[in-house]
Symmetry: C2
Subunit: 442 residues, 2 copies
């Protein structure tokens, strides 16, 4: 970039332009962030129209706003013309009202009505991430005609690798890959070539469903139909990679007691971030007050043997960790479709086996340690038994709560560590004090 800026400074525009178009649009977009406003607009104006639109689509939202503010209506119109429809829709969705007004003014009628239609699809639906740049063929075409059709119309299409065969009413009949067309005899009819076992979604399907189909069937593109089975768009795999990452981020956030959001962390304001953290913290804080009440309830026992308090963090901590280990595996299994609610018994049996092993190990280590440090076998056995019970309870609660959530059609991810920790904390304390009363007679 430095070199290009120098070329511009020396008024060697031809050379600067030649250098610019060597770069990948993604890298160019990133490099823009380092420039000052004057350099940004200068360089942006040097880009050929289609590269400019490409680079523009990779800008951050703030950068897009800046550029829009600096360019003329005519330049804006050119960029909107060159943008893929799904990128244009994203732009309309993200810009503030006054910018959208200027965008609308510089969009032609046909694009405007398409964008309006796209803006109506529900958030996170298949319709909201699809693109309309695909190749449609008729089943009566020959291979030669199909290839000719692609040659005529394919230049601007996002993907010509899979072509879609439709009938007169635009109903989806099947698919045929560019590959098949290339290797087939030119006069063969598409009706004999096309694949009719087609996976598809409708415009209002959840984008997660689309992601699952891509994952299960190793797809590169997925057709989207309206509710009368008419082909209206396709989803391409690069957008699905984004959906998968988004869904994973959402799960990570829910599992850490955060209200989920699409915005990158560094670009979100502190107040908004605080607002997304407080609700769950409050809920969990009030639950912990309940745990505190259990301790108060056993105050008399503690008065007899204050040393017991020192074991509370270890029991609660280990319980919480055991629970979230089990919960995470089950939640992830559910998300990837490897575990189903019908597997509840299998999961319970497996966690029971695991917790007996883990519980035995942790409990034996504690019996030895407490005995060596406190010289009281009864206290050692009390801690050991409590640890064992805590591990078993934690593993069972941790694995079954997410399954219960899924069964109740709630998101299993909200049953993760924080919620389970709170439930397990209370159970661990109850187990500990009951065992202590029984064994130590306090």
């Amino acid at each position: 970039m430095q070199k290009i800026l120098e070329l511009i400074h020396d008024k060697k525009y031809q050379a600067a332009r030649r250098d610019l178009i060597q770069y990948n649009p993604v890298d160019l977009a990133e490099a823009f962030e380092q420039l000052n406003h004057y350099e940004q607009i200068k360089i942006f104006r040097m880009l050929p129209k289609n590269l400019a639109a490409d680079v523009f689509s990779y800008f951050s939202r703030d950068m897009q706003m800046q550029i829009i503010a600096m360019i003329t209506d005519r330049e804006l119109g050119d960029i909107l013309d060159e943008l893929f429809l799904d990128d244009a829709v994203d732009l309309f969705e993200e810009m503030p009202a006054n910018v959208v007004k200027r965008l609308l003014k510089n969009t032609d009628d046909q694009t405007r009505s398409l964008i309006n239609q796209f803006l109506k699809y529900p958030e996170d639906s298949a319709g909201s991430i699809m693109t309309i740049e695909y190749v449609d063929l008729r089943k009566s075409m020959t291979v030669a005609e199909a290839l000719e059709h692609i040659r005529m119309t394919g230049v601007d299409k996002a993907t010509v690798y899979t072509c879609y065969v439709i009938d007169e009413a635009r109903k989806l009949l099947g698919t045929v890959s560019a590959h098949t067309l290339l290797v087939a005899p030119p006069l063969q009819k598409l009706s004999g070539l096309m694949e009719t076992k087609v996976q598809y979604v409708t415009t209002t399907s959840d984008q997660e469903e689309a992601a699952r189909l891509f994952d299960t069937y190793d797809l590169v593109a997925l057709p989207v139909t309206d509710h009368e089975d008419r082909l209206v768009g396709i989803i391409t795999v690069d957008d699905i990679v984004d959906v998968i990452q988004e869904e994973n981020t959402e799960d990570f956030e829910k599992m850490a007691a955060l209200l989920p959001s699409d915005e990158p962390y560094l670009e979100t304001g502190a107040l908004l971030l605080a607002r997304r953290r407080i609700p769950w913290l409050l809920f969990l804080m009030f639950s912990a007050i309940f745990t505190g009440a259990i301790i108060t309830f056993f105050e008399d026992s503690l008065a007899v043997m204050p040393a017991l308090v020192a074991f509370i963090p270890m029991l609660m901590g280990t319980g919480g960790n055991c629970g979230s280990q089990a919960a995470t595996l089950v939640i992830r299994g559910l998300a990837l479709g490897q575990v189903k609610t019908g597997d509840a018994l299998k999961v319970m049996f497996k966690e029971l086996q695991i917790s007996l092993t883990v519980g035995a190990v942790l409990s034996l280590i504690n019996i030895v340690r407490v005995y060596l440090m406190n010289d009281s076998l009864l206290l050692a056995v009390t801690v050991g038994i409590s640890m064992f019970m805590t591990v078993v309870i934690a593993k069972l609660i941790g694995s079954l709560l997410p399954l219960l959530a899924e069964k109740l059609r709630l998101d299993p991810a909200i049953m993760a560590s924080p919620v389970i920790t709170t439930v397990v904390d209370a159970s661990a304390l109850l187990a500990f004090f009951s065992v202590a009363r029984l064994i130590l007679h306090i």
Copy 2:
């Protein structure tokens, strides 16, 4: 499947076969799991060779072993012939030694030496997930020659959508898409058409790096070169989707104090699962013993005012949750490349702002609640100030530890909830008891 079984039972093999080939191989592979051994082998033998290989590649490992045990050497040879090389390599990697021996016996020399070469690539490297089914072209070819070359060789290739232009030494010069070939004039030379800004990885690059390139540049395929820049394979986007999910699962597991594994939960034995859980539990348990020691250290203060114990779960719990909220956002930001170690100051400042807000809210609520319930303003203020300090400390530790881990080239995900909870627990207790001593003079 029921219908097909009936057709077979009635010896209507033609009809059964016609029905079978209507199914998607992924669905067929899943349906096989429901059948008994006799039905499995019967139906598997009815499948046309290439469909059989396709279905076979989607079987679970156990299912693959069963089928291999039931078919003849000749049938096994046919399937190995039809499998894509990367699926064959997976098979060799996953089967026990005695099965591998039988597999090797039924593989032809050329495939065997290729498989041996692939097995040498490190686990999780780009080489281990690439495929060799791609189309290579020369830059001196015309468009017509290139299309003819694709027609001649493309049938078995995983992807002909991007073709790779190489020189005599197989050095990668550029790419040209099937799309470009289709729309270009037939006599144009590839040297004038090809894209020379090519993203690529080497065989020993980490698969995560490949995934990041796919994500950043919206790729459909990525070429893989050896260390002398010679093209040796390509990675296709469907395999990258698996890599992304694997990496996410690994992060989820690390963040829940589990040793990561590739095996699905339900297919892993209880003992193995227990072994993956015990190490971190032990480490965290011993850390919690340290937290317990802090309580013991302040035993005298507790003796004066036993009611203080009841606030411990709430303070420790809220601290842990605050810490893991911050840690999760930073860890996720690092994983997605939205946060870099250089952003440490920005992150610290943001978390400081957030924790002042969150701390103020939680602390005020606690002051009011404790005052109303205990009628002691001093106690209320003690709890309030401790809560405020806990929130601030937890957010700062939670956000900075993962950045520190990244800086030290450790995996930031291991600095997640469990580790941070343990550190924050101790800090929360120290803050609480110090404030209590100061304000309540105990």
